[in-house]
């Protein structure tokens, strides 16, 4: 898979993963506060933020594997920084990445419209929930509560990963830093077209 990647893309992917690994760690503290306020479902409210790097990297780099790899690397970096959740986090990252990657794969890795990005965020919600069900023992909770958790996480994935990821990538593209990536090229194309018409 990586043979077709340029080194430039691999390093940018890693750097994005590093930045969001730090964001993820910060949000864990925030999640704990919500946890204390609302119980288990508190985490699901902001769960989408943990999928955002998948959406951003896939949207910027637009290559098969970007969503999966970025989420996995972000998890690995969290472990390297010293997140006490430890090596199993890498597995969680892979599982979250697979959810988003599956959606991009279904769109044949050439459709990056808003609804695909939202669906990718929701895809991560689904896979991460199945994993959580097993590893955190949701089987011991009442089914109504578990259903509520699932829907909250689904919405969170759509908004905090899908939409926020899209918005952040586009603000980034406007700075010109992504000019050599597909997203930057797309932006310039749109700009020049608008320039002609107006």
């Amino acid at each position: 898979m990586l043979e077709k990647w340029k080194l430039r893309e691999v390093i940018v992917l890693s750097v994005l993963a590093v930045v969001f690994a730090v964001v993820y760690l910060v949000f864990m503290q925030f999640g704990n506060v919500l946890y204390g306020m609302f119980g288990l479902i508190g985490y699901d409210l902001i769960f989408g933020i943990w999928f955002i790097v998948s959406i951003i990297s896939a949207y910027i780099i637009r290559k098969p594997g970007a969503a999966f790899l970025s989420e996995t690397i972000a998890a690995a970096i969290e472990v390297m920084i010293g997140n006490a959740v430890g090596p199993r986090l890498i597995l969680s990252g892979m599982i979250q990445g697979i959810g988003a990657e599956a959606v991009f794969a279904a769109a044949k890795w050439n459709n990056y419209r808003t609804w695909v990005l939202i669906a990718a965020g929701m895809g991560s919600s689904v896979t991460s929930f199945i994993w959580g069900y097993f590893i955190s023992g949701y089987a011991a909770l009442s089914p109504d509560y578990v259903t509520a958790m699932f829907f909250v996480r689904l919405i969170s994935g759509a908004l905090l990963a899908g939409l926020l990821g899209k918005w952040l990538s586009e603000s980034l593209a406007k700075t010109g830093a992504l000019n050599s990536f597909p997203i930057g090229k797309e932006l310039r194309r749109e700009k020049s077209q608008n320039g002609i018409t107006s």
Binding site: G39, I77, L172
Partner: protein, 259 residues
């Protein structure tokens, strides 16, 4: 023999397999015993100071408490269980109480296993081992190492952006919408700077002859010996022994189709 000397990949594998096995049990005794063994190993064979350990461990105590109360309030009641207490729509059964306690203990046992890994493994050695034992692509591994080195640089950059904002007289954010705007004002330039730096790093690596080829040699060789597998067997054995002891005392509760 320190725990630091074992192969990092095997150590990570050990944690993951232990976690998967522990997820099958719904009684509090099994994870508790595992917690005792792993914490003990961390102190005795890892020479980790208790202060450092408890500092990382304590947030998870809080998390475990939340887990327990959530699982208590929203516990599933199965017919035929002993009812301890009812209040309105809430029913607390003895078995439900045990399950709630087990979920809390599970969080803590996972944490102790993770700390065993984190406090005795160097990040670079972990990556080298992933490359040499798990066939992780060098392109990706060195990419991650380069990215990891960016962390302190980004901290500096953050300071620079903050000073720049202050010099230009941007007031401190007070309302929520101001805070969100502030977040954007920091995150976009930080990310843009990081991406530009990443591209330069890639160019530097390539100009020095880095191809990302799998057939390369390593200055620091990391190997696997029977000792590493003994480490693996010891901790899997510890989890299974915990389950066995729990069973001896009649606590053991497996996942039994409680979907």
């Amino acid at each position: 023999m320190l725990l630091h000397e074992f192969n990092p990949s095997i150590k990570a594998l050990t944690v993951i397999v232990c976690v998967l096995i522990l997820s099958l049990f719904f009684d509090p005794v099994t994870p508790f015993l595992t917690l005792v063994v792993t914490a003990g190993a961390t102190f005795i064979f890892g020479k980790v100071s208790f202060k450092r350990w408890i500092l990382l461990f304590s947030p998870f105590i809080f998390m475990a408490i939340i887990y327990i109360w959530s699982a208590l309030i929203f516990s599933k009641t199965i017919e035929g269980e002993t009812i301890l207490w009812t209040w309105g729509i809430f029913t607390l059964t003895e078995e439900g109480f045990q399950r709630a306690l087990s979920l809390g203990m599970r969080v803590l046992s996972f944490t102790s296993l993770s700390l065993l890994f984190i406090l005795t493994t160097k990040p670079t050695e972990f990556l080298l081992s992933l490359m040499q034992q798990c066939r992780l692509s060098p392109k990706l591994a060195y990419g991650i190492m380069a990215g990891y080195r960016f962390l302190p640089l980004m901290k500096d950059e953050f300071e620079i952006i903050r000073s720049a904002h202050r010099i230009r007289g941007i007031p401190k954010a007070r309302t929520l919408s101001e805070k969100i705007a502030e977040l954007k004002r920091y995150s976009v330039p930080l990310l843009a700077g990081a991406i530009r730096k990443a591209e330069r790093t890639a160019m530097a690596m390539e100009s020095k002859g880095f191809t990302g080829d799998r057939n390369r040699d390593f200055y620091q060789k990391i190997s696997v010996s029977w000792k590493d597998w003994a480490y693996f067997a010891f901790f899997i054995g510890a989890v299974l022994a915990s389950a066995y002891i729990s069973w001896l005392f009649g606590f053991l509760q497996l996942y039994n189709g409680e979907l």
